[in-house]
């Protein structure tokens, strides 16, 4: 019977050894460094060392005007750049009291949800690839490619969109985009069976994920976990529903939750969330109002002195932007609350007792983007 001793029980030189997993490692997306203390292959203690991609986005914000911070937003979480970009614009609009036209809000919802689906697809498939199946990854990539093509037709870019602007969006959507989005919704709905056959029902996948990396409700709440990871632990919290922003109150959608809190639950929550996102996209396309897509805002914005906190749901959880303005064109301080940070550090709590192979699975199922943590 294998009993895992804690690090204090035995002499470290005697039987435990340390393993540096990362910063250059095939499955630590980006550059995350795990300093693991292992007993055989069982993790006794895990330390996450971050900061390898620190670029100082928050400090950069203090040296440039509000508009110039657009490109930085998408580069924090490069997988849901549209959501981060839109969220930043919403925060500044909230600070200045700008009323965004309804059409622009709907377009933002459509693009954000498409981006969320793209991010979830990548997150899920990367998780599956971490477990060892390479082919589903490329099938997911194929679907994601459709979204990127679609978003490219309106924003002109595939990853760092810079599509939202203060008071609206940069380019109006055309009929071709709407048709393409509808086609994509139908296509992805048809593809869910493929993923079910290839991944969800697969016995190896089930054995690798059920009961692995259980985050209980209390632990999740204690560590400030948000997003699909929190919902996988059975907490029904989604910023889109609990504190609706933009036009999310107009749409009917569910918050999928699972009680188990293991890797499988998080995977299923993401899968269900993609379906909900497709519903939102469809409703928004059906009810897309006519009108302008950009409010009348000055060329360079000058918010009044004061501060503002805005929270929104990215693909990884609740993001918060806190902006302090001193009444000039340059922000005094921008603070970003990145969901990946709290989601990652819950691994500290749950990793001990798991295998190294499980670490990859848990890390994949939590779906962290490291640049977002390091900023």
């Amino acid at each position: 019977m294998l009993t895992i001793k804690t690090i204090d029980d035995i002499n470290i030189n005697e039987r435990l050894y340390q393993l540096n997993l990362g910063p250059q490692h095939p499955s630590t997306h980006g550059v995350l460094h795990f300093l693991l203390t292992l007993d055989g292959e069982v993790v006794v203690k895990a330390e996450m060392l971050i900061g390898y991609t620190h670029r100082g986005h928050e400090k950069m914000a203090e040296n440039r005007i509000y508009e110039q911070f657009y490109p930085n937003t998408a580069r924090m979480d490069y997988l849901s750049g549209m959501i981060f970009n839109t969220g930043y614009c919403e925060t500044v609009e909230k600070l200045c009291g700008i009323e965004v036209p309804k059409r622009a809000q709907y377009v933002r919802v459509i693009t954000s949800e498409l981006n969320r689906v793209a991010s979830h697809l990548l997150g899920i498939m990367d998780f599956v690839m971490g477990i060892g199946a390479y082919t589903p990854f490329l099938y997911g990539w194929d679907d994601r490619e459709q979204i990127l093509d679609l978003l490219e037709t309106i924003s002109g870019s595939r990853l760092t969109y810079n599509y939202s602007r203060f008071g609206g969006v940069r380019v109006d959507v055309d009929q071709a985009f709407c048709d393409g989005a509808r086609r994509f919704v139908d296509r992805l709905r048809g593809r869910f069976k493929l993923y079910k056959d290839l991944i969800t029902d697969n016995i190896i996948f089930i054995k690798r994920t059920i009961g692995v990396g259980v985050i209980s409700k209390d632990v999740a709440l204690d560590y400030g976990v948000t997003g699909p990871t929190l919902r996988g632990s059975g907490v029904k919290y989604d910023v889109r529903k609990n504190e609706p922003y933009s036009s999310y109150q107009d749409f009917k959608f569910e918050i999928p939750t699972k009680e188990e809190g293991d890797c499988m639950a998080r995977y299923l929550v993401r899968m269900a969330e993609m379906e909900q996102s497709l519903n939102i996209i469809e409703q928004a396309l059906d009810n897309l109002p006519e009108g302008p897509v950009r409010a009348d805002v000055p060329r360079f914005i000058t918010p009044p002195a004061g501060d503002c906190y805005h929270s929104f749901e990215s693909a990884r959880g609740a993001v918060g932007y806190y902006i302090v303005s001193d009444g000039t064109r340059i922000p005094y301080r921008i603070k970003v609350r990145a969901p990946s940070f709290s989601n990652l550090f819950v691994m500290n709590k749950i990793l001990p007792g798991h295998f190294v192979a499980d670490l990859v699975a848990i890390f994949g199922s939590i779906d962290v983007t490291v640049p977002e943590i390091d900023r």
């Binding site: 440039r64 110039q68 490109p71 580069r75 309106i154 002109g156 016995i203």
Partner: protein, 152 residues
């Protein structure tokens, strides 16, 4: 945690597991004979959408067979990466200014599109070029006005 793993579950696992594996293999076998979806890049070139954001480019207007740049410098000021340098010159009559040289350092550009948004004369657009790899750092520095002359 999962305590009730008896003989029945064991047998059931073997059968459902084998079935799921066979189904999964069927999925991949079907894909083996489907047409490929990738583009063989250097042999086939993808077509960019009209909104594609390459580097910026001066628009050639029909009315004066040239650009409308007045060298106001808003684009240079709004650029987050300080990529743009504009040099203006007074016209012969001396009443108007126009852009003579317009340098961008594409290697530093983050393609945010603020310069295009901010231009009061709407004389900037994005090019559709995407093959923007250079052998030298200086190849990334381009003069838009010169490129415009070449396009005429």
């Amino acid at each position: 945690m999962n305590t009730s793993y008896g003989f029945k579950e064991y047998v059931k696992d073997i059968f459902t597991g084998s079935k799921s594996l066979v189904i999964g293999m069927g999925v991949t076998l079907k894909r083996l004979f489907q047409p490929i979806v990738t583009v063989q890049y250097p042999r086939q070139k993808p077509i960019m959408t009209p909104h594609f954001r390459g580097h910026i480019e001066a628009i050639l207007f029909d009315d004066n067979k040239s650009h409308h740049c007045v060298a106001c410098g808003l684009c240079a000021r709004t650029c987050p990466s300080h990529v743009i340098k504009v040099q203006g010159e007074k016209t012969k009559a001396g009443d108007k200014k126009y852009g003579k040289k317009y340098f961008i350092d594409f290697t530093k550009c983050s393609l945010c599109g603020l310069c295009v948004d901010v231009c009061p004369e709407k004389t900037l657009k994005f090019s559709n070029e995407y093959e923007l790899a250079f052998f030298s750092r200086w190849d990334g520095v381009m003069d838009l006005m010169q490129r415009l002359e070449e396009r005429k």
